[in-house]
Amino acid sequence: MTKKELKRKRTENLNKENIPQVEVLPPKRVSDEPPPKKVKWINRQRVLVFATRGISYRHRHLMDDLKTLMPHHRSESKMEHTKNLQVVNEMCEMKNCNKSILFEGRRKRDLYLWFSNVSVGPCAKFLVENIYTMGELKMTGNCLKGSRPLLSFDDNFDTKPHYSLLKELFVQTFGVPNHHPKSQPFFDHIFTFTVLDNRIWFRNFQILTEDGGLAEIGPRFVLNPIKIFADSFCGEVLWDNPSYISPTKFRQSLKKNTAGKYINKVQQKIAQEGSKPKESYSLNPLDEIFKGEPLEKALELRQKEIKEVQDNDDKQKKVKKHSKKQLGKKVEKRNSKKKKKN
């Protein structure tokens, strides 16, 4: 009796466990499936991605890469350099965009990036460093064109207000809207934003397996934030990067360092010559008397002495001569005086 009851209970339990399991959708979708109804996308973000004149080829490639990764972008031809960037707002309005990424090239080597939330703000200016484009051969990953990226942020983005502001800006610009007509319904890549060394490091990885197998797709770049403005391309400065050094200034300092090198070298040489002692060691001249053959040494010394004596004699003779002459003159003078007197 008891055994039977037990068995029944077990089966009941099993049934109970089975019931609450909701039918889980398979992670893969079959391609024969009828196309799902088109859903309108709520998050209507359109990003104007364009550049000013004077960006280099590498920067242009980076821009193209971003464009391929963002199906919600609108492109625009290159813009002339203007002092007032508020023109961009009007351009965005014309193109029906509410975000913009502006690539501003300076001196054919420095790239500045503007991220802006048009019409309302904020707007942030970055210096872009360490650019690797998607064309680089060491980046082996690949993804669908227009699939939605996952956006991963570092812990630091929650700690400081300017970082959280930037995070929101990045989410709205880089995030592909759900059900965007040009987007794909799969998740095969991820953007990571990491704060390190006061800069924001951007990476793009392909998701190979769902348990964390990754391959880098590119592009890679580092955003060095410079300023955050309250409005789009204008307005109050909300934040300033205290650790920012402009690339021109940095290059200048490098040049200065190398320029001082030669002068420093010359100065050092002069200083060394000035402070150099004439004798390396003060020797006692009598120490050398007993060196070598005593007989030869004695002869040498003897000759030296003779020479010295001769020299002295010559000098004395000269002096004597001189004095004799003078004496003669004096005597003559006296004689002449005497004669005159007489």
Binding site: L25, N43, F153, V171, F187, I190, I217
Partner: protein
């Protein structure tokens, strides 16, 4: 004791520097400061104070964030804040390998700038990249779980084709590049192994020759001893060439034996009829050549060959005598 110019960090000093009228009184100020003990004797250098003030308007920024933040469900935004995933064992292994390789590289090439591992830019780069990788891993695991909960399919089916971010030609280039690098690595590995082998082989050869020399010397010494009478026996000759026992298959051995019995075995086949040292030194049959005058007579007589019958008889006679 020179006091040049000094930046005073008191408020008074700052006020004076701004107004021109008090500009000349800086010496007095310095004296005062010296009296107070704010200045210390020594070489004081002017510090250029950075007058720029950096803005950081926290409240405004928070306000701004509130105003332009989109309150949409997560599936629309797909953003995550996450810590890096724990270090995977294979990544840790890779890291360790990289460190070892780098240390070896630095040790091998003194021309490279030598860094200690904490400051090494290469290692730092590697660590940084692994950190980003781990962050992405953490985010992926987190996001996939969340998406599954929402019931959104994530994996692309194999037969779903669409335009990719990188073109096929580009991917082909990447693959070729990878292959090339692999082959280069393999080749260099092979060359390295070969070099190592050669080194070892040379060492072995040297050792072998040394051993041979030592054995020879030993043998000669023994022989010398024997010759001088210090040794009686010649055992050292035996134990040097101790035959190595070889395991031979019984069946094969039997067959070989049979064949040897049938066809004969061993011995030199060539040169069996050539002169040897012994044969050429053998002078038993040598006869001094006769004088030229007598040659014809003697030779004619002696060299006359007997007839066949006589020769046979002679042979028989010889045999009988034996």
């Amino acid at each position: 004791m020179k006091v040049k110019k000094v930046v005073l960090h008191t408020e008074e000093a700052r006020a004076s520097s701004e107004s021109d009228s008090e500009y000349n009184s800086s010496d007095e100020e310095l004296q005062e400061a010296y009296a107070k003990g704010l200045l210390k004797p020594g070489l004081n250098v002017v510090i250029e104070k950075n007058k720029r003030e950096y803005k950081n308007r926290v409240n405004l920024m928070k306000d701004k964030l509130k105003r332009f933040k989109l309150d949409l469900p997560w599936i629309e935004r797909l953003d995550m804040v996450n810590a890096p995933a724990p270090l995977a064992p294979e990544l840790a292994l890779q890291m360790q390998e990289q460190e070892v390789r780098r240390a070896k590289q630095l040790r091998g090439n003194k021309k490279l700038p030598q860094y200690d591992p904490t400051n090494d830019p290469v290692l730092n780069d590697f660590h940084r990249e692994t950190m980003f990788h781990r962050q992405a891993q953490g985010a992926v695991m987190n996001a996939i779980a969340r998406l599954k909960k929402l019931g959104v399919p994530t994996i692309r089916p194999e037969d779903y084709f669409a335009e990719m971010a990188k073109s096929d030609t580009h991917m082909h280039k990447i693959r070729q590049n990878l292959m090339r690098q692999q082959t280069i690595a393999q080749r260099s590995e092979k060359v390295r192994q070969l070099r190592q082998q050669r080194k070892v082989g040379k060492q072995m050869q040297i050792e072998a020759t040394l051993k041979k020399h030592a054995e020879k010397r030993k043998l000669l010494e023994e022989v010398k001893k024997y010759r001088k009478g210090a040794r009686r026996d010649l055992d050292f000759l035996d134990d040097k060439k101790r035959p190595q026992k070889q395991t031979v298959d019984q069946k094969v051995a039997a067959k070989r034996k049979m064949k040897n019995a049938k066809y004969g075995f061993g011995g030199k086949k060539r040169d069996s009829k050539k002169n040897t040292r012994a044969s050429s030194a053998n002078v038993a049959e040598y006869r001094r050549p006769s004088k030229p005058g007598n040659l014809k007579k003697k030779g004619g007589q002696s060299e006359k060959r007997l007839g066949k019958d006589r020769r046979r008889q002679m042979k028989a006679k010889k045999r009988r005598q034996q």
